[in-house]
Amino acid sequence: MASLTALTPAQDLTPITIGGVTLSEEVPEAIAALMPYAGQTKALSAALKEAHGLALPGPNRMTKSDSHRATWSGLDQAFLIGPPPASELATHSAVVDQSDAWVVLTLEGKGVEDVLARLTPIDLRGGSFKRGHAARSLLGHMNAVFARDAVDRITIMVFRSMAQTAVHELEEAMKGVAARASAN
């Protein structure tokens, strides 16, 4: 039997390091959209805790366990990122495989906020967008999910088909910010 080779969404496009900031692609084992049915939010959160050790994140938040993280991604919706989700979750929630739908990029280093300030209208100041915060907004013209999982690291999820544009836009922003730093 022939086999099919898998390609990542940003295959060969990253990592890119400019100035003190590095852009790289993260390839999670699975991404599952969890959308609790009416009145099932708490039950889903409990099931999630039971199965994977983390709660369902509230609006604009992310939660984390050793194996998984869950990022709020919209009204009644969160992305569970990590190994494939336990089947029990489907009792309380629509569970939809999104593993191949997104490119997951991480931007890491001092000044990630300055790079993203060129592309997203979110207030990313330390006091406003803290570790564990998430947001759905724009990256340039692209629909994106942002989450800060460390002080100097922000994860950006963009539609898979736009991976090339996303990397290009981020790279251009990184260049501009680095050029400012070395010009001063």
């Binding site: 969404p9 049915y37 088909s161 991976a163």
Partner: protein
């Protein structure tokens, strides 16, 4: 002329630059204007209309005269203010709006005709003959009256857009702004301090006055240290706040790389959107010129500008300077000049009671009534005590008082309020929510009061943020403002300029009033006063004061024109930052993109997606050859086409069926799991919104397919229906368009091909037409749908996108061994036209289900969105334009999309229009063009002849009207 020991420029860092091809020297910290003045260059430009020689008027961003072209080649930028442009090594500047050298501009002939060129001249003169305007008059006028020229090439510079956030935005880095920023930061707020100029300090850098017992510049340096110490202040020099908008949003333009030699990747400018919870406006005030006769010669400038050049840049703008003032404040100019050893010829003060503040000749109660000097001022004539006196002088410093910079306070509709005592317009109360004007822009002129005002404004902003105000005392400073008199204009022989930038004189404003343009808005448009790049910063108030006099009204009754953003000119490049080239919009690539381009397929845009147009084979020279081959290949063997761009929406939940019944016209609750159904969706207004197939994977799980074009629209629609119309339905959905790579496998040999890759083979019994289900391909779980957009026995196979590239290559390679291969959008289009399948060319937003012959798809058994509206009388009558097929029957065989349909004998005019053509394609299957279109009462007219006329392309074709389904109307081939 440079004065030793004066100025804040860095004399240890000399730079050389070029102006009009000649090399000059300056120092770091110089503007182009100060460096040119230091080199004795006073003629810096030509005026807009009369091409009068002009020099620099101001030392700030309000400059109307000294506009220049900076840079060379594609990167050249016109209309740059020499007072804003900083000099750097290698700077290249050119004067503009001239023919020939600047001092012998051929267009200066316009000035001789100035009596004929008054306001309204063009409107009155170039009316006839009418067609001469575009071809003759306008080009000549545009050549003669104008500004700098663009290179005509794309700007190679890099520009940026960015967002910034703060608690308190302080606009202006003068004494008021510095105190406000320090108070705000010490109170715990995160502060952005934006300053128009390269250095913080505002007027303090241009004056000799002391603050806290120290020279102004020294105090400013200490303040900057104190601000840094708070760790709360983001300093943004070279950043002009350009507009105030809703919700505490401010626009700002930052000059990032314009003041230094080109640096790779460094943006030239950045257009900021700053979100501030509170703001302090400390924008200062602009000194007002006096409109006296012949007041526009190089060497005549603002008194405050003379002090700036002297104290900030260490330059004497003349060797023998005269002052014409209406206020005590301006006398400081004479004192500073004398202190620096520059000769002051005289001080002319319009106030009879004025007294000299130092050792200079004062003409109290005097006025300047004319001037001389062709390329630069040589002489002024003053009227004093009933006599006229001539004074030889090479620089005249003028001051008519100060206009508070209220611009930003007017950006949300407020009008400034006239203050009779100050003779100035002041900001209206609460003009911009959350913004507090303070200091000179609010009519507080003395330094001591400005420092206090800055503290108070910051405290009120802190209070609004519920932060505690710190205890800060204002430093000691002068509290003197002296007295002043208003003198808007001086009567006399000769032209007196109001608006230097647009060449508008007092005579023009009077003429406007005389001709009935008495409203200030009409005067502005009649004379063009205030419409130049400086937007009337130097002329608005004087012009409306003159208009008030000319129309016998007061200033407050006359009012101001509307102050609009931006406060300073913004380059188009900065506004378009990030949108050049590929930044214009994202590119969406399918997983088969590189395989398609590797086969030489030209890609076409479908929304943001890129899809292959056709796949040229060896020896094929036109797209039609490739398209014909691909169509035949699908009809006779098997073709592969990436259809991943179609919208796919995963829909789940106990009420998923009810939800689909509500959004689709037809029933989905009756669809069995493992089956697919074609569905039609209407808008609320009863017109068709989209169509597509929806598969039922299980009792409570569906996958909806939308068209590529309407994927986003349908998703938005579903969200609206779920959240707003039917929140009672427990249903959840999410786009899975990007999750699956999906390929059409179409043609009589499609199943044979699939069975070579599926882990479990399929047959007609297990996979009949319109069935769906999970499959395994090369060990990878996927989905298979037996649906057809070509009319052939066909499938769509879906795998997780990571395998898309591999599966596509495998499918195409296998198809090629079977006499098939890849097909593109052109072939796809021909195949669906042959079958009469619609796309958004047909369901373009103005058609109903009735129009496309699908009214029976609106189920009578249930309600759905658009059902009631679709039943309205006008939407279901035969006289509507209905979907038909078209086949050419005359000698001309060509059909074109966009052509209109007429009766064969009727004249092809609008009145006789009976319909239009939406899609056409050459069908290799039938050997003829086929078309789809809409024709009045078309369904009843099959067999009739109509005339297809494309006025644009000049095509006229006789057609037979027929059923839209040309190929296999019974559908036998699809069912296999």
């Amino acid at each position: 002329m440079r004065i030793d020991g004066k100025g804040l420029i860095d004399r240890s860092r000399p730079v050389s630059f070029r102006f009009d091809g000649r090399s000059y020297g300056g120092f770091e910290g110089d503007t182009l204007a100060s460096a040119l003045l230091a080199n004795g260059v006073r003629l810096m430009g030509r005026s807009f209309k009369y091409h009068r020689p002009r020099g620099v008027l101001t030392a700030g961003s309000e400059e109307p005269n000294a506009l220049m072209e900076i840079g060379k080649g594609a990167g050249k930028t016109p209309n740059v203010r020499a007072t804003v442009q900083e000099v750097f090594e290698g700077l290249e500047a050119r004067s503009q709006n001239r023919i020939g050298p600047l001092n012998r501009d051929l267009l200066a002939v316009n000035d001789l005709f100035s009596p004929f060129l008054s306001a309204g001249f063009y409107y009155k003169t170039f009316m006839w003959p009418r067609k001469f305007w575009e071809g003759l008059y306008e080009p000549i006028i545009r050549r003669a009256a104008g500004l700098g020229a663009l290179s005509g090439k794309p700007d190679p510079g890099r520009y940026e857009k960015a967002f910034a956030f703060c608690d308190i935005l302080v606009i202006g880095g003068g004494p008021t702004g510095l105190m406000a920023a320090l108070t705000a930061a010490r109170g715990g707020a995160e502060v952005i301090l934006a300053e128009d100029s390269a250095a913080f300090g505002g007027r303090l850098l241009s004056e000799t006055e002391e603050v806290d017992g120290k020279p102004g510049a020294v105090w400013v340096g200490e303040m900057l240290d104190a601000l840094a110490e708070t760790g709360k202040v983001r300093l943004m020099p070279r950043t002009t706040i350009t507009g105030a908008y809703d919700g505490g949003t401010y626009g700002a333009l930052e000059r990032v790389g314009l003041h230094r030699p080109a640096t790779p990747d460094l943006p030239l400018e950045c257009l900021w959107r700053i979100q501030a919870k509170q703001a302090v406006l400390a924008a200062g005030a602009l000194e007002r010129p006096i409109a006296f006769p012949m007041n526009d010669r190089p060497g005549i400038m603002m008194a405050s500008a003379v002090r700036s050049y002297l104290n900030r840049y260490g330059v004497a703008p003349g060797q023998k300077i005269t002052l014409f003032a209406t206020n005590d404040d301006a006398h400081q100019t004479a004192l500073d000049l004398i202190g620096a050893g520059v000769e002051v010829a005289a001080v002319v003060d319009s106030r009879a009671e004025a007294t000299a503040q130092g050792d200079y000749q004062l003409f109290a109660g005097g006025q300047v009534i004319t001037t001389k000097g062709r390329h630069a001022l040589t002489n002024v004539t003053i009227r004093h005590s009933g006599a006229e006196t001539q004074i030889d002088t090479d620089c005249l410093a003028m001051s008519g008082g100060w206009n508070p910079t209220v611009h930003l306070t007017c950006h949300m509709g407020a009008r400034p309020v006239w203050d009779e005592a100050l003779k100035a317009f002041l900001p209206a109360a609460s003009a911009i929510p959350g913004l507090t004007p303070a200091g000179a822009c609010a009519g507080t002129y003395d330094t001591a009061s400005c420092l206090t005002a800055g503290i108070e404004a910051a405290k009120s902003a802190l209070k609004a943020l519920e932060l505690k105000a710190p205890d800060i005392a204002p430093p000691s400073a002068s509290d003197q403002t002296g007295t002043s008199q208003t003198l808007w204009y001086v009567e006399g022989k000769g032209r007196a300029w109001l608006d230097f930038a647009n060449d508008v004189t007092t005579k023009d404003v009077k003429l406007s009033a005389q001709e009935g343009y008495r409203s200030v808005e009409h005067m502005k448009r009649y004379t063009t006063q205030g419409m130049a790049p400086d937007q009337g910063k130097n002329s608005n108030i004087s012009a409306l004061a003159l208009l008030a006099d000319a129309t016998g009204r007061g200033i407050p009754e006359t009012g101001t024109t509307t102050y609009r953003p931006p406060y300073v000119p913004i380059s188009i490049s900065a506004m378009a930052a990030g949108a050049q080239g590929k930044g214009f919009q994202p590119e969406r690539f399918t997983t088969s993109h590189s395989a398609s381009t590797a086969r030489g397929a030209p890609m076409i845009e479908a929304g943001l997606w890129y899809r292959p147009s056709y796949f040229p084979a060896q020896g094929e020279t036109t797209w039609r050859e490739a398209c014909d081959r691909e169509v035949t290949m699908v009809r006779e063997a098997v073709g592969i086409c990436d259809v991943s761009t179609l919208g796919k929406i995963d829909i789940q939940g106990p009420d998923a069926s009810a939800f689909l019944d509500f959004v689709y016209t037809n029933m989905f609750s009756t669809l069995k799991p493992g089956r697919v159904r074609y569905g039609l969706m209407l808008r609320e207004d009863g017109h068709v919104m989209d169509d597509g197939t929806t598969a039922r994977l299980s009792d409570s799980h569906y996958v909806m397919t939308t068209t590529t074009a309407a994927a986003g629209q349908v998703m938005t629609h579903l969200e609206f229906v779920s959240q707003a119309l039917r929140p009672d339905l427990d249903v959840r959905f999410i786009s899975v368009t990007e999750q699956w790579a999906q390929f059409a496998v179409a043609g009589p040999r499609s199943r044979e091909l699939l069975n070579s890759i599926l882990d479990t083979p399929i047959d007609d019994e297990t996979w009949p037409f319109m069935s769906c289900g999970p499959i395994s391909v090369h060990g990878i779980p996927g989905r298979l749908f037996r649906i057809s957009f070509s009319g052939e026995h066909a499938y769509e196979i879906a795998v997780p996108a990571r395998y898309g590239d591999a599966l596509y290559r495998d499918l195409v390679a296998r198809a090629e061994t079977m006499g098939g291969g890849a097909y593109g959008m052109e072939a796809l289009n021909v195949l669906r036209i042959e079958k009469g399948f619609i796309t958004h060319s047909e369901i373009h937003g103005r058609v109903t289900a009735f129009d496309i012959g699908m009214e029976r798809m609106i189920s009578a058994k249930k309600d759905c969105i658009g059902k009631t509206a679709a039943a309205r009388p006008g939407l279901v009558e035969p006289e509507r334009e209905l979907l038909v097929g078209l086949k050419p029957i005359g000698t001309v065989k060509q059909l074109t999309a966009g052509a209109h349909l007429f009766a064969p004998e009727a004249a092809p005019t609008r009145e006789n229009d009976e319909g239009y053509v939406t899609s056409v394609g050459f069908s290799p299957t039938f050997g003829t063009y086929l078309g789809l279109g809409f024709l009045v009462n078309g369904r009843a007219r099959h067999g009739e002849t109509v005339k297809h006329v494309d006025h644009l392309r000049g095509v006229e074709t006789l057609c037979e009207v027929c059923d839209p389904v040309f190929f296999d109307p019974e559908g036998g081939r699809t069912r296999g």
